[in-house]
């Protein structure tokens, strides 16, 4: 017979909130790349203003966690769950900031002619969003194995980053007039690479929540 039903209901509500926050962040990353592809400055501006909602959500969740700790004295997996959530919202907020960073780069680029068709950068974004989504699923399903697996996939994002970097470097070497535009794209790729690193941090937190062990999973190349 479950005794602390009210407390556990609140905890599940927070889990729901974190999924909602995750959706906001996924959307921000996706749209930032969309804005980059289509030179959509309105969209870029919207991402920048919407980032405030992500930050607000983070503080909302944090406050709820603090209240639960103060009033309910959570123990064992409940305690680990709350600690895990507190860490994950920080990671999510940062990923949101990277999306905002990309949006700002989009504004800088403005309507400059494209340097080249974008292929690997959207792939990086897609992979990162996919990893992020699955990491939060792993949280919801208490699946440490899935979390470990997702973290290792960070390599794929790193490899794409390498590729983007080398390609843009060759553009710059061939034609120094492309340096400004190429550099901006490298910044975009860098923001994505960092986002994927943050996802691996989320995965580590999920593993901690489920197993009680703090593991550093597959140190990232970058």
């Amino acid at each position: 017979m479950e005794i602390r039903t009210a407390f556990h209901k609140k905890l599940r509500q927070i889990q729901g909130e974190i999924l909602a926050m995750g959706n906001m962040v996924e959307k921000a990353i996706e749209q930032s790349i969309e804005a980059l592809k289509n030179r959509n400055l309105d969209m870029a501006n919207r991402i920048i203003t919407d980032d405030r909602n992500i930050n607000r959500k983070r503080y909302e969740i944090e406050e709820r966690c603090i209240q639960l700790i103060a009033t309910q004295q959570p123990m064992a997996s409940d305690l680990r769950n709350i600690i895990c959530i507190l860490n994950i919202i920080t990671e999510l907020e940062r990923i949101g900031d990277y999306a905002e960073g990309i949006a700002k780069i989009v504004l800088m680029i403005g309507d400059e002619p494209p340097l080249k068709p974008l292929i690997d950068i959207p792939r990086m974004a897609e992979k990162t969003v996919d990893m992020l989504h699955r990491s939060l699923d792993a949280l919801g399903n208490h699946n440490a194995e899935a979390a470990r697996q997702i973290a290792t996939e960070d390599n794929e994002v790193d490899d794409l980053y390498d590729q983007v970097f080398r390609e843009l470097l060759s553009f710059m070497i061939e034609d120094p007039k492309t340096i400004t535009r190429a550099t901006r794209l490298i910044w975009v790729a860098h923001n994505l690479e960092r986002s994927a690193d943050r996802v691996t941090n989320i995965c580590e937190r999920v593993v901690f929540f489920v197993t009680g062990k703090m593991e550093e999973i597959g140190a990232s190349k970058y």
Partner: protein, 271 residues
Amino acid sequence: MNINLELTDKKAPVSGEVRMSTKNLSLYYGDFQALRDITLNIPENAITAVIGPSGCGKSTFLRLFNRMNDLITGVKVDGRVELDGINIYDRDIDVVELRKKVGMVFQKPNPFPMSVFENVAFGPRRHGRKNRMELEDVVEKSLKQAALWDEVKDKLGQSALALSGGQQQRLCIARVLAVEPEVILMDEPCSALDPIATLRIEDLMKSLAENYTIVIVTHNMQQAARVSDMSAFFMMEEDRAGILVEYGPTAELFTNPKDKRTEDYITGRFG
């Protein structure tokens, strides 16, 4: 509670020797088995908490260590209970001497209806210390150790019953300390106290643990988490016999219990 698991010494929160232990210990009240096959080591100069649902045998377990269960008719004990490696259920054990070494504090403060001074002097007097000066020293020292001296030093002659509940409980602790025990057993020592008095007792326990081995039974999990170094989780089997489900460093038991039953109990998923 320390959350940074890797950086803490939670794997070995206590370095001391084993002070007391039970080995394959079973206890029966007549035909009813109250404890089943309990093997557990209690470390020296540390606080060991016993938690578990009501009726799972916590008090019974605690009373093993000073043979208080002997006072109940029909009690039968199987297995060993050791103090410093000696089986205290051996025939030639002097129970009076044992209870001097292993003191006990009860749920409800139970001061004697006499003065504060006489309460504390009672034990030493009974053990043959008669010299007034010596007794004064013992009383002062014990009351200081029990963090009560400052509050009662001007009313040592007054009735102990006039003290507040929290003060009475500290007086009972002072009374135990006065006979210079090695182990202190506490059975829900704060359940009759208000929250502040409770925190004072917990703080006192922490300081006493530097020199004494303490075993506390508590129905308050947060209290076990706050004060103890080691925690033992007891539970009842189908036939209501108490068993030890899990025993380990408190920081570990309350953050990452090994047994699903412990997890369910401390997170309130069953009870």
